[in-house]
């Protein structure tokens, strides 16, 4: 890709307009939701074209405060996403270090087994997992919501590759500097993996925040709903109660943390997606 021929002016223009069209297509639904969230529910129930017709209100947002479990769900989502992200970072770093730097019997075989995990879809394991969690009484607990996402083969793979890319002479220099194994891990190697941690952290956070299927199965108490489940549940009965504008306001509200995370770590997200290392 990097060796591709330079783009001519005409090609550049075509690409530009293509990007414009695609951006509009991508952004239109979000703009639509934003618009709905600022429109009166009664007007919308007569027809969604009301969104363009001057029925502006902030009521949908003020309603969030008192009117539903959305704060509770928000908190649940935050706990699960932060917990799951921390878990993934800690375990992936430790496992990555062990696979990349320590000599122990079975290392190669176990690494391959971990990689198999990349190929197993969640659908294939969801029923046994449900059974196990039932037996262990883990449904409707935070641990139950976080645990499956914490075993992330991709995270282990990513961190292993990252640790491997650090020259072993750095470890050796630290050994000669009389640093213990843990000190080398903590003070020398881990700081060098920060770009990978950022990438992995963002992805895990977004994945946990947006996850729908497992919370739907495991968190069945209304108290344990995450935002995605909570909002979906109010969608089912929106005709009788909250209304479309209110639903949209909740969706916007739900997107805020993701947006903040994205804005703060934008640079890392871009490099993560383009597969390069952060300089």
């Amino acid at each position: 890709m990097s060796a591709a021929a330079p783009i001519s002016r005409d090609q550049g223009r075509i690409l530009f307009w293509l990007a414009v069209v695609l951006s509009v297509l991508m952004l239109a639904p979000m703009a639509w939701v934003l618009l709905l969230s600022f429109t009166e529910n009664e007007a919308l129930s007569r027809g969604t074209e009301a969104a363009f017709g001057g029925h502006f209100t902030l009521k949908n947002y003020s309603d969030i405060a008192g009117n539903s479990g959305v704060f509770r769900w928000f908190l649940n989502s935050l706990i699960v996403a932060v917990g799951q992200t921390s878990g993934v970072l800690i375990m992936s770093s430790l496992a990555g270090y062990a696979f990349a730097r320590l000599e122990w019997p079975g290392r190669k075989v176990i690494f391959v087994i971990v990689l198999f995990g990349l190929a197993v879809p969640e659908q294939a394991v969801i029923i046994p997992r449900h059974q196990i969690f039932t037996t262990l009484n883990l449904h409707n607990t935070y641990i139950g919501l976080m645990l499956p996402g914490m075993s992330l083969p991709f995270g282990v793979f990513l961190m292993t590759q990252f640790f491997r890319a650090i020259p072993s002479e750095i470890d050796e220099a630290a050994l000669l500097d009389n640093a213990s194994r843990f000190r080398i891990f903590w003070k020398v190697l881990l700081p060098l993996t920060l770009p990978a941690q950022a990438t992995l952290g963002i992805f895990t956070f977004l994945m946990a925040w947006n996850d729908y299927w497992w919370p739907l199965i495991s968190g069945t108490d209304k108290e344990m709903y995450t935002l995605t489940i909570g909002i979906a549940s109010s969608q089912v009965n929106f005709a009788q109660t909250e209304g479309l504008g209110f639903l949209a306001a909740q969706a916007v509200f739900a997107a805020i943390p993701v947006l903040i995370v994205y804005i703060i770590f934008q640079r890392h997200v871009v490099t993560a997606v383009s597969g390069g290392a952060v300089k």
Partner: protein, 363 residues
């Protein structure tokens, strides 16, 4: 503070592959010793065994009278400078130098004092707060040396520390290393495959080849009186020319060596008792030759003008290559036939096993 290193019957294997076989070597306190040898001969492995980065399969290593081969690298009292420098990328220059001192519980004031001292000596005191990425190759190299100096080790270990520098900087740093050695009086072990580094820096050179030490000696000793044919060919540039010897007989001053199709080369080497000429050869350095009216008939193929002298690369009638030397302003051209005389006192004779024989040293 500097200490002697004593290596006894050291062996190293990787799986079934032996890379060092029964190596013994004594390095005096304050000595500058260079390990020289072709790529893959085990120089780095030997150095890393002293550092504790490779396990010892058999044998012992002593430093300053204490056996160290069982100790962790950080407990041995040695400091190492890596070819890649191996600086900690996320730490400033100061932190890079301080890290090893913090780990052994040296006080903050003392750390600061040592860092400043080393930084001044190495002229990097204005860089102390920079990260390695913001340094040039030469500056990084100094930081790596600084990181070793502050530890005040019993011995310094260098693994090709100059090979990532450009030629000019390499020359300068070489000189500075020599000065540093004089000033610190520390034991230094230096690995290189660059002969010039070896010749200029070393008190003694250890020439390694094929799992073994071929020769240990002062630079000029190794150069003028190589112990084996391998050393003779490896040391010196241009490389020594080697011709097959058909027979060797006692001449007037020393051994007279017959080269088939070329002629007789007279030497001042006393013919060894019962010398076996099977597979024997004769070695000649370019600087010990000159054009003359008689001597070996050489067809010149390439003329290399070095200014002060000229090297003539050519072929003898038997097909052997020979490099001869002429004056800087020679008129010889490629394609010319010349005759080359050889200084008998500088001829080297090798038997079939590669063992070398030389003329007696002049008093």
């Amino acid at each position: 503070m500097s200490a002697e290193i004593d290596i006894r019957n050291l062996t190293k294997r990787y799986g079934g592959l032996t890379v060092l076989d029964d190596i013994s070597l004594s390095i005096a306190a304050g000595e500058f010793v260079v390990f020289l040898g072709p790529s893959g001969c085990g120089k780095s492995t030997l150095l890393r065994m002293i550092a504790g980065l490779e396990d010892v399969d058999a044998g012992e290593i002593h430093l300053g009278g204490d056996r160290i081969d069982g100790l962790a690298p950080g407990k041995r009292g040695v400091a190492m400078v890596f070819q890649s420098y191996a600086l900690y990328p996320h730490m400033s220059v100061r932190q890079n130098m301080a890290f090893g001192l913090e780990n052994v519980g040296i006080s903050k004031d003392e750390i600061e004092r040592r860092c400043m001292d080393a930084a001044k000596v190495l002229e990097i005191d204005h860089l102390l707060d920079r990260k390695p990425q913001m340094l040039s190759g030469g500056q990084r190299q100094r930081v790596a040396i600084g990181r070793a100096i502050v530890k005040e080790p019993k011995a310094f270990l260098f693994d090709e520390p100059l090979s990532n520098l450009d030629a000019a900087l390499r020359g300068r740093t070489r000189l500075e290393l020599a000065q540093l050695h004089q000033r610190l009086g520390a034991t230094m072990v230096f690995v290189t495959h660059d002969q010039i580094e070896a010749m200029t820096l070393a008190d003694r050179i250890v020439i390694m080849h094929d799992k073994k030490i071929e020769q240990i000696g002062a630079p000029m000793e190794v150069y003028q009186r190589p112990a084996t044919r391998f050393v003779a060919e490896f040391v010196g540039s241009p490389a020594m020319s080697i011709l097959p010897a058909a027979s060797v007989s006692a001449g007037t001053k020393g051994a007279s060596i017959e080269v088939d199709g070329v002629g007789t080369i007279d030497s001042a080497i006393p013919l060894p008792e019962g010398f076996n000429a099977d597979g024997a050869s004769v070695g000649i350095r370019a600087e010990d030759t000159r054009p003359s009216d008689t001597g070996l008939p050489l067809t010149v193929q390439v003329v290399e003008r070095l200014g002060d002298r000229t090297l003539l690369y050519g072929r003898l009638p038997n097909g052997s290559d020979l490099v001869a030397q002429d004056l800087g302003r020679t008129t010889v051209q490629a394609g010319d036939e010349v005759r080359i005389a050889v200084d008998p006192s500088a001829v080297h004779l090798f038997d079939g096993t590669g063992r070398a024989f030389h003329a007696p040293e002049e008093a």
